[in-house]
C-alpha cells in the first residue's frame, strides 16, 4: 500500500482549519472499527479524522509504505510496472485509491480576472485571517462553498456567493440527522447500475451541509440571514466585470423541488416501516428566498471584491497513470471499480458501486466486491 505522504495525508494537508466531516461520528465506520467516543451525533474535526484513519491503519495492519509517491503505472505482459519515488515495483494487479479530489477545478474564466484580485482554491484556504480585508466572492454553493461563505461572512467581510445548480439539505429532519435518513431509508444503498443517470449522479455537487456542534442547517436561506449576497452562476468576464446568470430562481426551484421529493420519500419510508412514532412530525422547509434584485454583474476592478475563492469542485489526477483508461473528460473508465484494463481496479470514487460509496462508511461493501473480482483475476492468471 503506497502513500505519497503520511497516513491520512489529504486530511492532514488539503483541508481548511475549521473543516469537519459531513457525516455524524456513528457513521464513520470501517471494517472492525467503529466510533466509540462520547459524541456519536457529533462531526469529526480534521485531527479526529486523521487519528481515526491512523487507528485503522494500525488495527488492520495494512502494509503502508509512507513517503512513496507513485509517478507512473504502466502495463506489462503479466500485470503492471509501478514507478515510485522509492523505486520500481512489478505487480499483477493495481488498485487506484487516490480519490476524486486531487486538484481543485477552477474554470477558465478565472484567467480573465483582473490581477489585483487575489484568487484562492480550497487547497490554499486555511482561515479568514489569511485573506486581505474587504469583499470576497465565493464561487460555488456545494458544501465547500457554503461553509467558506459562512465562515468568511462571520469574519466581518462582505461576501457574495455565486450559485449554480446545488443540493439543498436540512441538517436535521424530524429529529434525526439527514444522513441518518439517507442511510436508514436505503437511499445510499441504491446501486450504480440502478441509478437513472449515473454520469449525473457521479458529478453531483456535495450537499449544502456543515458538521457543527450545534447541528445547524447551512442552506442558502441561512446564508441570506447571515448577510451573504447571492448571485447567479458566474458565466463570463467582460471588460473586467463578472457577469452572472439571470437563472437564479430556476436553480433555487430545482433544489427546492428535489429536497421536497426526498423528504416525501423519507416520510413514505417512515410510514411503511411503521417508525413514525419514534420520529418528530413531518416538516417542510420554506422555499429558498430569492433576492429582491440579484446582481447580474459586478465590477472586479472597483475594489469591492479583494479575493475570489473558487469552490467549484475537484478533479482526480491521473497524470501518473500511463494506461489508456481515462476518458476525454479526465474520468477513469470503470464498471463499479473494475477498470477497463485487466487487473486494474479503483476504490473510493463517487457512486463507485452505490450512492454510499462517496462516504467513509461506503468503502466496506465496495472493497469486498472489487477485491473479490481482483482475487478471481489473480487466481485465474495463476492457474493458467
Amino acid at each position: 500500500m503506497l502513500e505519497r505522504g503520511e497516513v491520512a495525508n489529504s486530511w492532514r494537508r488539503e483541508r481548511w482549519d475549521s473543516f469537519r466531516l459531513l457525516t455524524p461520528n456513528w457513521q464513520s465506520r470501517l471494517p472492525g472499527l467503529h466510533y466509540e467516543g462520547p459524541d456519536p451525533d457529533g462531526y469529526m474535526t480534521m485531527g479526529e479524522v486523521t487519528e481515526f484513519i491512523e487507528r485503522f491503519a494500525k488495527l488492520s495492519r495494512a502494509p503502508v509504505r509512507t513517503g512513496t509517491n507513485v509517478t507512473s503505472v504502466r502495463r506489462t505482459d503479466d500485470g503492471y510496472h509501478v514507478t515510485t519515488s522509492q523505486g520500481e515495483i512489478g505487480c499483477r494487479a493495481v488498485v487506484v485509491a487516490s480519490g476524486a479530489c486531487n486538484r481543485p477545478a477552477v474554470p477558465p474564466l478565472s484567467e480573465a480576472v483582473p490581477p489585483d484580485v487575489e484568487q484562492l482554491t480550497p487547497f490554499d484556504y486555511r482561515e479568514p485571517g489569511q485573506l486581505p480585508d474587504g469583499g470576497v466572492l465565493v464561487v460555488g454553493a456545494s458544501a465547500t462553498g457554503v461553509q467558506l461563505a459562512a465562515e468568511l461572512r462571520r469574519s466581518g467581510r462582505p461576501v457574495i456567493l455565486s450559485v449554480g445548480e446545488h443540493v439543498r439539505l436540512p441538517r436535521i429532519y424530524r429529529g434525526r440527522d439527514v444522513l441518518w435518513w439517507m442511510d436508514a431509508s436505503g437511499v445510499w444503498d441504491q446501486r450504480y447500475d440502478e441509478v437513472d443517470d449515473l454520469t449525473r449522479a457521479r458529478r453531483l455537487p456535495s450537499p449544502q451541509l456543515v458538521g457543527t456542534p450545534e447541528r445547524t442547517t447551512l442552506d442558502l436561506n441561512a446564508l441570506t440571514s447571515l448577510g451573504v449576497e447571492l448571485v447567479g452562476r458566474w458565466a463570463a468576464v467582460r471588460d473586467g466585470r463578472a457577469l452572472f446568470s439571470g437563472g437564479l430562481r430556476n436553480v433555487f426551484a430545482l433544489a427546492d423541488l428535489k429536497l421536497e421529493r426526498l423528504l416525501d420519500a423519507f416520510d413514505e419510508w417512515a410510514r411503511t416501516r411503521g417508525v413514525d412514532a419514534e420520529l418528530g412530525p413531518p416538516e417542510r422547509f420554506a422555499p429558498t428566498r430569492v433576492p429582491s434584485s440579484a446582481r447580474l454583474q459586478l465590477d472586479l476592478r472597483g475594489g469591492e471584491i479583494r479575493t475570489i475563492v473558487w469552490a467549484t469542485g475537484f478533479r482526480p489526477d491521473y497524470t501518473w497513470l500511463d494506461v489508456p483508461v481515462v476518458d476525454e473528460k479526465g474520468r477513469l473508465r470503470h464498471d463499479g471499480g473494475v477498470v477497463d484494463s485487466p487487473g486494474l481496479y479503483a476504490l473510493g470514487l463517487p457512486v463507485l458501486r452505490r450512492r454510499r460509496s462517496t462516504f467513509i462508511n461506503g468503502i466496506e461493501d465496495d472493497a469486498r466486491e472489487v477485491i473479490g473480482h481482483l482475487a478471481r483475476h489473480v487466481a485465474v492468471r495463476r492457474g493458467s
Binding site: E165, A236, S245, G246, G247, L257, E260
Partner: protein
C-alpha cells in the same frame, strides 16, 4: 408505464443523445436568419436554411417575419417589435421543453398555456439615462398547465424545461456577439 401521447418523439431525442455522445462534431448546428430593410423601422427577416448533423438542412417552408414598432413609437406597426420576438422565442422554447420532459416522464398533457411579460425601461434605448440598460429589466413567464400530474410534478416539469432551454440560457447568460460590415 402508461402510454402518453404529447406528440413528442422522445425516443428519437434519446437516440440522438446516445449517438451524439460519440460524435460531438455532428452536434454542431448553425442557425441562420437574414433580414432586409423595408422602410422606416420596418424590416423583413426570413429563415429557411440551417446547418446540422454534418450537412446543410432546410426547413420545410421558408418563414417570413415582419418587425416594426407600434404607433406610439411613431412607426407604422407592420409587425411586432424585435424585443417581442425574444418573448416568442422564450415561450416556444420553454413550451417545447415542457412537452418533451412530460413525454419522457410519462405525463399526459391536456393544455399548456404561457403568458409572458418583459419589463422594459425605454429610457435606455432612447439615451435618456446612461444608467438604464437597453434590454429587458426582467422577464416573467407564467405557465398554466393542465396535466395528469401533481402540482409538484408540474413545477418540476417547468423547472427542468428551463434547465434544458436554449433560449432561457441565451437570455440569462451572456453570449459573444460579433456584428460586422461585409
Amino acid at each position: 408505464m402508461t402510454t402518453v401521447a404529447n406528440g413528442v418523439n422522445v425516443q428519437a431525442l434519446l437516440d440522438a443523445r446516445e449517438v451524439l455522445k460519440g460524435a460531438p462534431e455532428a452536434a454542431q448546428f448553425v442557425w441562420r436568419a437574414s433580414s432586409k430593410w423595408q422602410n422606416g423601422v420596418h424590416s423583413t427577416s426570413t429563415v429557411k436554411e440551417f446547418y446540422g448533423l454534418g450537412a446543410e438542412q432546410t426547413h420545410r417552408n421558408e418563414a417570413v417575419f415582419d418587425a416594426d414598432h407600434p404607433e406610439v413609437f411613431a412607426a407604422e406597426d407592420n409587425g411586432i417589435t424585435p424585443i417581442e420576438y425574444l418573448l416568442v422565442g422564450l415561450a416556444s422554447c420553454l413550451t417545447a421543453g415542457v412537452a418533451s420532459v412530460a413525454q419522457n416522464r410519462g405525463i399526459q398533457l391536456r393544455s399548456v398555456e404561457a403568458t409572458l411579460e418583459g419589463k422594459h425601461d425605454i429610457r435606455g434605448i432612447l439615451g435618456v439615462d446612461a444608467d438604464v440598460r437597453n434590454g429587458f429589466t426582467d422577464i416573467k413567464v407564467t405557465f398554466n398547465i393542465d396535466a395528469d400530474a401533481s402540482k409538484q410534478d408540474i413545477e418540476a416539469l417547468v423547472a427542468q424545461s428551463q434547465k434544458r432551454s436554449a433560449v432561457f440560457d441565451a437570455l440569462t447568460n451572456p453570449t459573444d456577439v460579433t456584428v460586422e460590415v461585409a
